[in-house]
Every structure is written in structure tokens, then in C-alpha cells.
């Protein structure tokens, strides 16, 4: 069902229940007031309508794009509420910079921060989560250079234009959306229970020390009369609940219109104590006091309060993180004492239970082998994040002449972000360290940051039909942006009472009281223009250009020029095609252009910075960083060739694109001779600076099929939307050498895909003796010998190599390129909608694959130290002849954990991302209670995943949007909190 309603005099809305992105008249926004009918478009745009967004239990609008649009890859980092989402359009397009696209809301760019939180081991804050998906009318993805060049130096990673709902003339409506539901982890790690742990641990010990007394001992340490057997995973994960309320008003006439909404949602996450509450409001209004003038305001305010967990993901190796503690904690240790207090030792670590001497075999030297109490840490420590966001713009458009309109628009993206971390003194950790022993204590850390991005745009658009056939549509304008980030942070400890954890002053606190401020400003100035030309609805051309200047760029490269052009030929309009009735519409199109990526350049990256340089007690200045006057954006040269077709009476719509993005001038750390003496840029090794020197490319194809599979006279209809994309990446030039990520086996290297694994090759466990074996660089077997002589290496079974002891194999010396990448090679979605009268069923599948994940979680849970293991360890080698990948247990000998292909696993998956059943009540019934429309729905989000991946979920990305690592170390699974399955039900009522 599709209804077209004219709104104003230039845009059209498509309101429908059915998926419908066919090439019938549909309008997409193209930026700076522009919009184009789909049939006339020659660049590569993709649009997602509101029907796919409303009432979705997604935590941010970008999540809703997952699988919906060809070429757009969305990765949820983990199941932690509000955690970062990785968005990649046509692959990873930078090495050290950001690969996140530019988001523009109602014509105004949003801040490029991928994570606004700065405190370590804390939550991540995804600024996109502040946009209420229910307020979104549509999202348009600009993929090629012709489409994106109007955003110039910020467009290499693609642009996502978000358009919010507007009032509609002649339609007054009050809409109430209510939904509720629950969520649960899709999968939890299976760990050893108490008796398995006891047996495995003592086997580890006795394989090494045959006569040693057992260290893992089960008993009733808390004397509650029950033998201690704790499933720590169950202690920290729970069923979560969601409730969501949305109220929207909309009305309009020929003098003005408005859309207003308020919403509130409350999510209790699947991790104990993780809760996210969000309230938001929006007013979009437009007045048309004169026929030649209109003015409007679009404004939203969002307030979110996220009660998180310390180290939820990114820093999941931090002891305090739940996935660290709960997965390591020994199961034969109780959670509570008999009196209900947490079971802790004298230093407030997790107690030892009935075990004797486990800590000797736990190599966490900082805590002397002890672990933090997983549940107490979650419950007593706080990591809260309060975010307030004002997104708004006001504009005035004047139409002095027919066809010409001039707009001035002022926009603001204001974020106030408050991070709060509290470490409780009654448990081990920072809180206890700072005075916990004296009954004082606790550590509070607070950061408050304001980020203000203001935008001023002035542009004119002119459209005119010359003669009968020459249609011109031109835009020209000026824009400036100013982004100011300002933060202050403070910390205090030695609190006399926990009540002071929220507000403290006057602390006697000689050891830990820190405070400071920081400030950072970036400015942009830009000129842009676009010309669309159409001849006789048959031949099309679009020229786009932008000149961008940024305060980030070096003085010699202050202004960049970014042109793009595309042409289209609607071949189906040619006489020779008129006989081919099967083809209703066919348009060939091609585009080429130059865009930039400046998101990886910090605010003062091009300048010489001279800061404090204390000399003993004497104040002085030191050079912190040297200038780079030629520092500039990374360049993307984008080519796109494709066609749009509609065949079989418009029942099948096809979009096909071949694309290529040659990225040049990649910013890489380039070493200078040490004897130059220059200071290095922050984040780089000694005597190195970022310079524009590298190259790589992304090439691929995209296919979208929108089909009406079945339509019966009885009203049954089955439509589907399928998309597929295939992507190849290659790093072609790295003149300064490889670029390392945080993991040794992943580095960008010339001639290889940026996410290719370079790993030590795992051979297997030697069935004869249970020793782990790898291959060295030359294909010889290196075996680690637990036996006699213990702790030595064997080379093809020999204990010496060239008369010397055999060196251990390592990724650095023996790693081999695997040809396997962390980033998916192919991905897409398949959405099916079945409707019959008022009933509608949507089944949405998402898939991705061709990639490999590094299951670091599995590696860590196969430890031979005295912490808990995954149940996979039960398959260890025990006697000669055993074929397994888990070597003979040997206490604290964790050689098998070294990075190797053993832990690289296929990441292919097919996810049933959404099953949604909706029922539109018959009008006769809904009118009985005064409603024009009542829609009931129930859905399961993330219903099931088909995958061979042995970890919790193949959709995982520890590095999220953290610069270099997010580009190179994509697809590392490092104790991420599990993804969630969500069940929701609710109703939408229109009055």
C-alpha cells in the first residue's frame, strides 16, 4: 500500500506499510535543500524509510540501518547498552583516520565524535544514539562521489542524511506508540562447574607436579550448608526489560505545519546494573507567512542516563570488567557469605573458597593472583553517563523569483556529556586503595564535557525548465562550521562516607585529587555548488563541487577542491527500447569524483605546538609537536558505474553498482632520521610524524532487488527487498612501512587487505605427547615441550637447531599472511513482507561473511592458569593417540595461547534480525474508540543467528570507532558482552 501526498510544493512523502523502494516517483534528499526524484538520480543514493524505523527497539538510529542498505555495514560492538556502533559504507577507507561516515540531520552536520567519552575503562557514548528513531522520516546514504562531493573533505566515508518528520498540510494527527518487552543474551559462555573446575585444575597441577597436593578443593567455604558451586556468568547476566513510550503531534495547513514529539524509554540491560533511560522531545515547525517566504525551526532535546559498567567492552581486560571477573572467577567459590554479605578476603578481593594456593598459579601480579568479586564490582562500583543533546536549526527561505529560492540556515549540535565513575572502598580496587582500610575511602572521578558545533549555511537553488526539454536544477552556497570542545575533570578520594560520592569538597586528599580542563576548537569554511541537468527525461548529468577549508589543515593546503560528476542515460526511453515491454524502466549511470576524509586529523595537527617544559624548578617551554604545513585530508577517488531497472510491470526493481574508491594521501606515521632530533607527533613512535603518503583501494559491487513476489486479488501480497554487496580491499602503498594495530597479528601492509591476518600457523596437538605445535616461517614444526626437559622448544622433534636451543615461534618471526580478513567480503540483507488485509508479517534476514574473527575470548578461557575455563577444555589431550586442539594441561604454561590460526574462526553468519507481526485494526473497530488507525505489533529482534562461529556472536568489534585499531583490528572478539535478543510488543494509535 502506497499513498502519495503532495506536501508544500516540492517534496513528496511516501507513507506505506509495504517495503517500496521501486523506481516509481520517490524523492530522496541530496543535501542543501536539494531533492531529486529517484528516476532522475545518477549518483548512488540509498534510502531507508521511516517504516523501518518506527517502534524499533534499537538503541540508536544507525543500528536500524543494519542489513537494510547495500554497501552499508553496521556492527554492534557488544550487548552493552548504548555501546558504540560501527558504520562502514563501502568498506574501511582509512588506516589511521576515521572510517565513520558523516551524519547530517535536517541539513546540518553532526559532530564527528565516534565516542564522546574520554574516561578510560568506561562506557562508550555513541552520539547517534541521541536521535529518536521514531522522529526520523528517512535516512539517505550518499555512497558515490557524485552524491557525496557536496560534502567535500568529509565525504570519503560516505554521508548519511537524516531527515526528521515534518507536519503535513491538511493532516492533523496525534500518534501514540507504546511498546514493551524483554531482552536476553543470545548466548552465554559455557564454563566449568565446581567439580569440573576442581578436576581440571588439579590435573593442570599434577601434570606439572605429579605429587603436589591438590589446590582446587570443593567445599562449603561460606558455611551455608551447601557445597559452593557458583555459575558466575548467571550471576552477572540477567533478563532485561524495555519500555518505550512515544507521543507525536502533527498538523499543518497552507500557512504552516508542525511535528512535535516526546518520548521516554527505559531499558534494563542484560548485564546486572546496566540500565539506560532516555527522554527526548522534538519540535519541527515551518511557517509560510507569504507565498515567497517560509521559515522554520527543527529542534530536539535528548536526555539520556546510562548506568553502565566499568570496562564493559573496549577495556574488557580490565579486572573490574564483568566479562573479565565473571569468566575467570573460580566456580567453587561462593558469591555471598552466610550472612548475605559478599564473599571477600581480607584485602576485599574475591575470597579463595576452600581452595588452597590457587593464587600461586594465577599470573596477575598486580593483585597477587586474586580476582575482583564480579558481582560486588558490578553492584558497588558505578560508571554512569549523563548525556544531554540539543540538535536544532532555524532557517529562512525566500523565493524572490519563480524557481529561485535563497535560504539561510543556522544549526547547532550541542552536547553536554557527564561521565561519572565511582570505586567503592569496601571492595578491592581503586576505592579500597584510597583509604579503604581506614573506613574512609572511595574514588570518584568526574568528567564534564561540552561540545558545540555551530553551522551557518547560505545557499540558493534555482530550477527551471528551458524550452520543453532542458531541466536545470542548480544549487550554490556557503557554509561555515565551528566546533568547540571543552572539558573539565575532577577526582577525589578518601571520602569520609560514601554519601559524599556524588558531591564532595574539602577533602583531605594528598594522594588522589586531580582536576583540569581542556579545550579544542576546529573551524570550517566551504563553498559548494551542484548542477543537475536533465534533457527530456532521457539524458541526465550532475556536476557537484565543494571547496573546503579547515583550521586542521596545514597552511599550504588550507583549501581543498572536491569535484564530482555523474551522467545517466534512461535508455528505456529510447525508441529502440520501446518494443521490449518486459523492461519498464532502465537507466545506465556512471559517476566519478574526488572527495576527502579529514576526520582523522586532530584540531592542531598541522601547527607547531610549544607547551610547558619544566626545567627542575624553573619554568620553561618545550616543543610538543612540529608543524606540517602540507598536512591535509586523505583523498578518495570514487568511480561508480551501474544501472537502475524496473521490469515485469514494475514488479522487480533492480539497482546494480560497481564501485571503486582509490584512497590516496593516507595519513601515516613517517619516521625521520633520529639525528633530525624532531619531536614525534602524539601517538607515534619516536621521531615520526603524520604525513599524507599512503594508498589503498576498496572495490566491489552492490545489488539491490525490490520485488513484488505475489499479489493476489484477495489482497495477499508478498514483497521482498534483497541486497548484496561484495568488497575487496587492498593496501597499495605504505612508504613508511607496516602500520601496527594493538594486536600483533593485524597490521596494514603493502599488497594486503587492511584487515588481513598475519598469524603463526597452528599445527595441532601432538597426539603422541599432548604438546602444542606450530609451523615456523619455513614450514618446520615447532613443538613446545612440557615434558623433559621441561619448557623447551623442539624443531621438527629435535631439541637443538644449528647447535643452539630452538627459539620459540612468534608472529613477528614466523607469522604468515593467511589471505583471510577480519572485515566481511560480502554482506547484505533480505527483507520479506507478507501482508493480507490488515495483517502484516515481516521477516528480515541479515547476512555477512567471507571474514574471520579472532576469538581471543576462547584463547583466554583456555588458560592453564588456575582460573576458570570454557567447557571446551574438557576435550584436552589426555593420553597418547588423543586427537584434539587442546594440549596436555600443564599449570601456568600458557604457550598454546600465543596468537595463532588456532583462534581464527570463520565469521559467516545469517541472522534473523527481525520478525515482526503487525495487525492494523479494521477502521470500523478503531473508530469505535475515536482512532483513525490502530496498529498492534509484536516482534523479535535478533531472533536467531546461523553461524559456525564458536564465540558468543559473530557480530563483534572490540575496537569500535577508536581510530587505527578500528580500521586494522576490525573483528576481534575480546570478551565482549553478548548481543541481546529482544522481544517486544506494542501498539501505534493515531487520533
Amino acid at each position: 500500500m502506497s499513498v502519495e501526498l503532495p506536501v508544500g510544493n516540492e517534496t513528496k512523502f511516501n507513507i506505506g506499510l509495504a517495503t517500496d523502494t521501486k523506481m516509481t516517483s520517490e524523492v530522496v534528499v541530496t543535501g542543501y535543500g536539494g531533492s531529486q526524484d529517484v528516476k532522475d538520480i545518477t549518483g548512488s543514493f540509498a534510502k531507508l524509510d521511516q517504516t523501518k524505523l518506527t517502534s524499533q527497539p534499537v538503541q540508536s538510529a544507525d543500528q536500524a540501518l543494519a542489513g537494510r542498505v547495500a554497501g552499508v555495514q553496521i556492527t554492534n560492538s557488544s550487548g552493552t547498552l548504548g555501546d558504540a556502533v560501527t558504520v562502514r559504507i563501502r568498506g574501511i577507507n582509512s588506516i589511521n583516520g576515521s572510517s565513520q561516515p558523516l551524519f547530517v540531520i535536517d541539513g546540518v552536520p553532526m559532530t564527528e565524535f565516534g565516542n564522546l567519552n574520554i574516561m578510560t575503562s568506561g562506557l562508550r557514548y555513541n552520539p547517534l544514539a541521541d536521535i529518536n528513531p521514531n522522529d526520523i522520516e528517512s535516512m539517505t546514504v550518499l555512497k558515490d562521489a557524485s552524491a557525496a562531493a557536496i560534502y567535500g573533505s568529509r565525504a570519503t566515508n560516505g554521508v548519511i542524511l537524516i531527515t526528521t518528520k515534518k507536519g503535513k498540510s491538511g493532516q492533523s494527527k496525534l500518534t501514540l506508540n507504546v511498546s514493551g518487552g524483554m531482552m536476553e543474551p543470545t548466548k552465554l559462555p559455557k564454563l566449568l562447574n565446581a567439580s569440573e573446575f576442581r578436576d581440571i585444575t588439579n590435573e593442570k597441577l599434577n601434570n606439572a607436579l605429579p605429587n603436589a597436593a591438590p589446590i582446587a578443593i570443593n567445599g562449603d567455604a561460606n558455611m551455608d550448608g551447601v557445597e559452593d558451586d557458583t555459575n558466575w556468568v548467571d550471576q552477572i547476566y540477567q533478563r532485561g526489560y524495555i519500555q518505550d513510550y512515544q507521543l507525536a503531534l502533527t498538523s499543518g495547513n497552507d500557512k504552516g505545519s508542525y511535528y512535535a514529539s516526546v518520548g521516554y524509554s527505559d531499558q534494563k540491560g542484560t548485564i546486572v546494573s546496566n540500565r539506560l533511560r532516555r527522554a527526548n522531545g522534538r519540535i519541527n515547525m515551518e511557517l509560510t507567512p507569504k507565498t515567497w517566504a517560509k521559515a522554520g525551526v527543527n529542534m530536539s532535546f535528548n536526555h539520556a542516563y546510562n548506568q553502565g559498567v566499568l570496562g564493559p567492552n573496549l577495556t574488557s581486560n580490565f579486572f573490574a570488567s564483568p566479562t573479565f571477573g565473571a569468566l575467570n572467577a573460580q566456580p567453587n567459590i561462593p558469591v555471598y557469605n552466610a550472612d548475605g554479605s559478599y564473599y571477600l578476603d581480607d584485602q576485599r578481593y574475591l575470597g579463595q573458597g576452600s581452595n588452597v594456593g590457587l593464587t600461586t598459579y594465577i599470573p596477575y601480579t598486580g593483585t597477587a593472583g586474586r580476582l575482583y568479586h564480579p558481582l560486588a564490582t558490578l553492584k558497588l562500583n558505578n560508571n554512569n553517563n549523563t548525556q544531554r543533546r540539543l540538535l536544532g536549526n532555524a532557517y529562512l527561505t525566500v523565493t524572490p523569483l519563480k524557481g529561485l529560492s535563497v535560504t539561510t540556515k543556522f544549526g547547532v549540535d550541542y552536547i553536554n556529556n557527564y561521565e561519572y565513575q565511582y570505586s567503592d572502598p569496601s571492595i578491592a580496587g581503586l576505592g579500597f586503595d584510597f583509604g579503604g582500610v581506614n573506613g574512609l575511602g572511595g574514588l570518584v572521578q568526574k568528567t564534564r564535557a561540552d561540545n558545540t558545533l555551530t553551522t551557518w549555511q547560505n545557499y540558493a537553488t534555482y530550477s527551471h525548465l528551458f524550452g520543453d526539454n532542458h531541466n536545470i536544477d542548480a544549487t550554490f552556497g556557503y557554509e561555515q562550521n565551528l566546533e568547540t570542545y571543552e572539558a573539565s575533570f575532577t577526582s577525589g578520594a578518601f571520602l569520609a562516607d560514601p554519601i559524599f560520592k556524588d558531591n564532595y569538597s574539602g577533602l583531605f586528599d594528598p594522594l588522589q585529587s586531580g582536576q583540569g580542563t581542556s579545550r579544542d576548537v576546529t573551524a570550517w569554511q566551504s563553498l559548494f555548488g551542484r548542477l543537475n541537468y536533465a534533457f527530456s527525461d532521457k539524458y541526465y548529468a550532475t556536476f557537484t563541487a565543494r571547496r573546503d577549508a579547515s583550521s586542521r589543515f596545514g597552511e599550504q593546503e588550507r583549501w581543498g577542491f572536491f569535484p564530482g560528476a555523474s551522467v545517466g542515460w534512461r535508455i528505456s526511453r529510447e525508441a529502440f527500447m520501446s518494443d521490449i515491454s518486459v523492461i519498464n524502466d532502465l537507466k545506465l549511470k556512471a559517476s566519478y569524483g574526488l572527495v576527502g576524509n579529514s576526520a582523522g586529523i586532530s584540531s592542531y595537527a598541522a601547527a607547531t605546538l610549544i607547551g610547558q617544559g619544566q626545567y627542575g624548578i624553573y619554568p620553561g617551554f618545550a616543543i610538543n609537536k612540529l608543524n606540517n604545513p602540507s598536512l591535509r585530508w586523505e583523498t578518495g577517488k570514487k568511480l561508480d558505474i551501474g544501472f537502475d531497472a524496473s521490469i515485469l510491470k514494475d514488479r522487480i526493481g533492480i539497482n546494480f553498482d560497481f564501485f571503486s574508491n582509490d584512497v590516496d594521501n593516507l595519513l601515516l606515521g613517517v619516521p625521520a632520521p633520529y639525528s633530525s632530533g624532531i619531536p614525534n607527533d602524539p601517538g607515534l613512535p619516536l621521531v615520526s610524524k603524520f604525513r599524507n603518503v599512503g594508498r589503498m583501494y576498496n572495490r566491489g559491487v552492490e545489488l539491490t532487488l525490490n520485488t513484488t513476489n505475489l499479489e493476489t486479488p484477495t489482497g495477499f501480497k508478498w514483497t521482498s527487498s534483497f541486497n548484496y554487496s561484495y568488497l575487496v580491499n587492498r593496501v597499495t602503498e605504505l612508504p613508511a612501512g607496516d602500520v601496527q594495530s594493538s594486536v600483533v597479528y593485524r597490521f596494514a601492509s603493502e599488497g594486503h587487505p587492511i584487515t588481513e591476518y598475519n598469524l603463526l600457523r597452528w599445527v595441532g596437538v601432538n597426539p603422541a605427547n599432548g604438546n602444542p605445535q606450530w609451523l615456523d616461517a619455513n614450514g618446520n614444526v615447532r613443538e613446545y615441550n612440557y615434558g623433559l626437559p621441561a619448557g623447551t622448544w623442539l624443531h621438527n622433534g629435535e631439541s637443538t637447531l644449528n647447535g643452539q636451543p630452538v627459539p620459540e615461534p612468534s608472529t613477528q618471526t614466523d607469522g604468515q599472511w593467511t589471505g583471510k580478513t577480519g572485515f566481511p567480503k560480502w554482506m547484505g540483507g533480505f527483507d520479506n513482507t507478507f501482508s493480507y488485509k490488515g495483517l502484516q508479517l515481516e521477516i528480515f534476514l541479515q547476512y555477512s561473511g567471507g571474514n574471520y574473527l579472532y576469538n581471543s575470548t576462547r584463547s583466554q578461557l583456555l588458560t592453564f592458569s588456575a582460573t576458570n575455563n570454557t567447557t571446551q577444555i574438557l576435550d584436552r589431550w589426555r593420553q597418547p593417540g588423543d586427537e584434539t586442539n587442546i594440549p596436555r594441561l600443564f599449570i601456568n604454561q600458557n604457550q598454546h595461547q600465543r596468537s595463532s590460526t588456532l583462534f581464527m574462526e570463520k565469521g559467516d553468519f545469517l541472522r534473523v534480525r527481525q520478525v515482526r507481526l503487525a495487525y492494523l485494526l479494521p477502521t470500523a473497530i478503531s473508530q469505535k474508540f475515536g482512532s483513525s488507525r490502530v496498529n498492534l505489533f509484536a516482534m523479535v529482534q535478533n531472533a536467531f543467528v546461523f553461524t559456525k562461529y564458536s564465540g558468543l556472536d559473530p557480530e563483534v568489534n572490540v575496537a569500535a570507532n577508536e581510530g587505527t585499531n578500528s580500521n586494522i583490528a576490525y573483528g576481534i572478539d575480546q570478551r565482549s558482552n553478548p548481543q541481546v535478543r529482544t522481544y517486544t510488543a506494542g501498539f501505534n494509535i493515531d487520533f
Binding site: 523569483l401 573551524a523 588550507r558 584540531s603
Partner: protein
């Protein structure tokens, strides 16, 4: 075409569009927490802080702030085989060694700010500061640059005498402060100059420095913390000594001596005395000429401060040094023992500046030059705020004494200079030297070198004093752990050019043997 609203309205809007392009200052954003160079060189007060920044760079723990001294002394016969720096101590390191790279990079990093001052002050025609200040800062920069080059050439090249005319390879001479672009140009791939060229540059820089440096930097502490005319003369006398130009060495040492601005302190320990936890104070210290200043809050810190390696219980114990000093021995194992040591039978430098500790085992001797060294004599732990001695008056006396002995043989003056250093520390039972004490000039020279070893221990001198005098570094160590002897011209007696630097700079030639 019909006008839909008054012409004036259109005009206003169009002009709005056009004026919007104004305001290019928007793009000139400056970091709120940093200066740009123009701001730094905008006032005399700021330029003076930039000058202090040259010394801040000199505090580099990888170089003269700590390791450059250690790298000399751990290779000398003054230490036991240390628990760290083993490859260095045994002269078995590889060209990829991190210490070698650290010293190389640290040396050039330490002189960057000095070169930058010269560059900017010259480029800005003095930046509007008074001429005397301009001359002073340039002179300070040249002093620092000379000190860095001299230290680098000692670390990475054979001593001057290795070839007849010093024509063997030294280190690249860095007189530029390349900016972010220039650092990548071929001109910065500097080849190694010869040792002679390096010495010529060092000598020239020091001579220039002597002209521009003040005799007084404004306070007792600043007179030590910042370079003075005496510091430059003193350092130059050492440079000439190393270069075997003894007349010049004697002459520049004499400039310091005859200035009478410096005298020997009453006791050897006075130059290293500091109350635990407090900052160093030179109010009653007249022999310290130039130290690199440190403070409790500003120093190379836990990982690199020199005291972290020399304090009791850390890396470097000093058994062989103590054994060389007069004092009681255990005749059974020929190890020095603290029991029974008195001012009569023991050198004051052993009594006051070393400490014997049985814990952690094995029992060892440690220097106290970099500990929290209470005036009362109790040994403290590592003092991260310990200043780094570079030029001290006793060295000047010994420089001149040695130079005189080498040019004029046994003279009253040479013996008197030696006695000035020796007499305040020798066991009271030992007699002062007279000209009759020495059979020949070489005996006097040997006595001077021995005194140099005693007095300047762990200040980065001993190893180079052995090499420059063509002496073997004797086998040393304690018990069965011995470091074998090393010839002064052994290829391994100098550090390798770091492998990493050879990749960055194809014009460099590796030292023979690496």
C-alpha cells in the same frame, strides 16, 4: 519574469550571501593550551623560558639526564656486572639494541631545542630582546649543542687517538632544527662527520659560548643549573684533553682556576649533599660549576632517573671502585669491608659517598651520589631529584694537572693541583704528594688519573678516561662474575650506530664489528 517581493529585499539577501564569505580568521584556530612559535618569541620573558626549555631537553633520561652517564660507567672497571645493561657492560650488544638507539635518539633530541633557539632567534633578528640576552641564549644553545655532540662522539666513535689525525668516523653534526617538512628532506640524511670534524665543531661552539655566556646567571642555583663562562671553559678543557691538545686543555682549565669564582668544597660529599625529600641547594657549594637540574617533580622518573639504577639495592653496585679506594679489606677474599674503616685509614669518598649493604643479598657496595644523601651521613634511597653533575671544579684542577704533567713533566703546580683534590679525601694517615713522590712524569699522570677515577666516579668519566689514554678496561667484577678485559680500540668498545637509524638514513656507515 515577475518580481514576487520588493527588489530591496532580494538585494539584502544576496548581499547576505556574499558577505558570508568574509571572516577568514575563523580558520586560524590556535591550540588553547599551547603556544605557537610567534607567541613564544613575542616577549623577553617568554624567550627566557624558551631558553630554559633548552635545558629541559637536556634532562632527557635517555641521554645526559641519566643514561649517557650510566653507559660510560657500566662499561668501566668501577662496577660489578650490573643486573641491567648487561649487554652494554659486557660489550656484547647488537645494532638493534634499545639502549644504543635510546642514546642516539636522545642525544639529537636533547640538542633540538638548542638548535631551535639559534634558528628562531637568528631568523627573527633577535626577536626584539636585548643584545646581551640574545648573545647569552645563543651561547647557552651552543654550549648545550657542544655538550651533546661531545657525548655522542664519545658513545658512538673511537677516541681521538684511534687514527693519527682523528679522521675516523664520528657522528653526524646537527646544526639545524629542521621543521616538520625539512626533517624529511634529503639534507637531513646527514652522513657521519669525522671525529676531527666533530671536535672542531664542539670546540668552535664552546669558544663561541665562552664569549656570550655570563659569569653569573642570577642566583647560586641558577649559576649551576644554567651554563656560565666557567662551565664552557671547563668543558672545553676536557674536550682538549680528550683531543690530546694539552696546552689548550691547561689554558682553558686555568681560566676557570684563575677566575677564583670556584673553590673546592670542604668535603667531597658536599657536592652531592641533599636533605632527603628536599630540593638541591648550592648555597654553600662552590665547586659545582654545571649540573643538569632536576627536582622532585621534574626528573626522568621511576624508569630512568639515575638514582633508580645506582641507589642501594638497585642495578649497579660498585665493588671494584670501592676496592680501588684506600680502606680496610677482608684479607680472606680481598673484598672491602666497612668494619674498621676510619678517616685515618680510609678515603673520605669511600666513607661518605659509598654504602655497604648486605640486603638484598649478595652484600654489595653502592654509590651515594644519587641517593637522598642526608648531610648527617645516613644513606637514603634513590633521589629522583638528584642533579646530574657535568662540570665540577675538581675536574678542572685535574684537567690542568694532567695537561701540565703531559707537557711539562713533574711540576710543583701539577702536584699542587692534584693535592687540592686528593688531600681533602685521602686517609689522614697518608701523606700529601710532593714532586719527590713521583719517579717520572708518567707516575704523576697515573696518580692524576687515579685521583680522577676516585673523585669523578659515576659521573660518566672513567670509561672515556681509559679509552683516551689507550688503556685496557681491565677485567672487573666481583667473585666469579667477571667482565673480561677490553682493549681501548676494540671494535666493541663503542656503541653501534642503531640499526633503525641506518634504515632511516642510508648515508650512515655502521661501526666496524657490528
Amino acid at each position: 519574469m515577475k518580481l514576487t517581493f520588493p527588489f530591496i529585499g532580494r538585494a539584502a539577501l544576496l548581499s547576505l550571501l556574499l558577505t558570508a564569505g568574509a571572516g577568514c580568521e575563523l580558520l586560524d584556530q590556535q591550540s588553547p593550551q599551547d603556544f605557537n612559535p610567534d607567541d613564544v618569541f613575542s616577549s623577553p620573558g617568554r624567550v627566557d623560558k624558551a631558553a630554559a626549555g633548552m635545558y629541559d631537553a637536556l634532562q632527557d633520561g635517555e641521554f645526559l639526564g641519566s643514561f649517557a652517564l650510566i653507559y660510560s660507567d657500566v662499561r668501566s672497571d668501577d662496577v660489578d656486572l650490573p643486573s641491567g645493561f648487561q649487554n652494554l657492560a659486557t660489550s656484547t650488544l647488537q645494532s638493534g639494541d634499545g639502549n644504543a638507539l635510546g642514546a642516539w635518539a636522545g642525544g639529537y633530541r636533547s640538542m633540538y631545542m638548542a638548535n631551535y633557539m639559534i634558528r628562531e632567534l637568528t631568523r627573527r633578528n633577535g626577536a626584539g630582546i636585548p643584545a646581551d640576552k640574545y648573545n647569552q641564549y645563543i651561547a647557552e644553545a651552543k654550549f648545550i649543542r657542544a655538550l651533546c655532540h661531545f657525548t655522542l662522539v664519545n658513545l658512538f666513535a673511537h677516541p681521538y687517538r684511534f687514527s693519527p689525525d682523528g679522521s675516523h668516523l664520528g657522528v653526524p653534526i646537527q646544526l639545524d632544527a629542521p621543521d616538520g617538512t625539512e626533517a624529511y628532506q634529503p639534507a637531513q640524511q646527514k652522513p657521519r662527520a669525522t671525529v676531527k670534524q666533530v671536535y672542531e665543531q664542539v670546540t668552535q661552539d664552546l669558544k663561541d659560548a665562552i664569549k656570550g655566556l655570563p659569569v653569573n646567571q642570577g642566583s647560586t642555583n641558577l649559576n649551576v643549573a644554567r651554563a656560565t663562562k666557567d662551565a664552557a671553559c671547563g668543558l672545553l678543557s676536557r674536550v682538549y684533553l680528550y683531543q690530546m691538545q694539552y696546552d689548550s686543555a691547561a689554558r682553558y682549565a686555568n681560566l676557570v682556576i684563575t677566575s677564583t669564582r670556584h673553590q673546592m668544597n670542604a668535603e667531597a660529599k658536599d657536592a652531592f649533599s641533599v636533605t632527603a625529600g628536599e630540593e638541591r641547594n648550592f648555597v654553600s657549594d662552590t665547586e659545582s660549576i654545571f649540573f643538569i637540574a632536576m627536582s622532585q617533580n621534574d626528573n626522568p622518573n621511576t624508569n630512568a632517573a639515575i638514582g633508580q639504577f645506582y641507589a642501594p639495592g638497585t642495578s649497579i653496585s660498585i665493588g671494584p671502585y670501592v676496592r680501588a679506594l684506600p680502606g680496610p679489606f677482608n684479607s680472606a677474599n680481598n673484598l672491602p669491608i666497612p668494619n674498621g674503616s676510619t678517616a685515618a685509614n680510609t678515603d673520605r669518598r669511600r666513607l661518605d659517598l659509598t654504602v655497604y649493604r648486605t640486603s638484598p643479598p649478595p652484600a654489595r657496595w653502592w654509590t651515594r651520589k644519587y641517593t637522598g644523601n642526608l648531610p648527617s651521613g645516613a644513606a637514603g634511597n634513590s633521589n629522583r631529584g638528584a642533579w646530574i653533575p657535568i662540570v665540577r671544579y675538581p675536574e678542572i684542577l685535574l684537567n690542568r694537572a694532567e695537561a701540565l704533567a703531559r707537557t711539562s713533566g713533574i711540576t710543583t703546580e701539577a702536584v699542587s693541583l692534584l693535592n687540592q683534590v686528593r688531600d681533602r679525601s685521602k686517609p689522614t694517615s697518608a701523606a700529601s704528594y710532593t714532586t719527590a713522590s713521583f719517579a717520572n712524569a708518567q707516575a704523576l699522570i697515573d696518580a692524576i688519573l687515579t685521583e680522577r677515577r676516585f673523585e669523578l666516579a659515576f659521573e660518566g668519566h672513567r670509561y672515556y678516561d681509559l679509552l683516551r689514554t689507550a688503556a685496557f678496561v681491565p677485567e672487573h667484577g666481583t667473585g666469579t662474575i667477571k667482565v673480561p678485559a677490553l682493549a681501548w680500540n676494540d671494535p666493541r668498545s663503542i656503541l653501534p650506530i642503531p640499526a633503525n637509524e641506518l634504515q632511516r638514513n642510508p648515508n650512515l656507515v655502521q661501526n666496524t664489528g657490528y
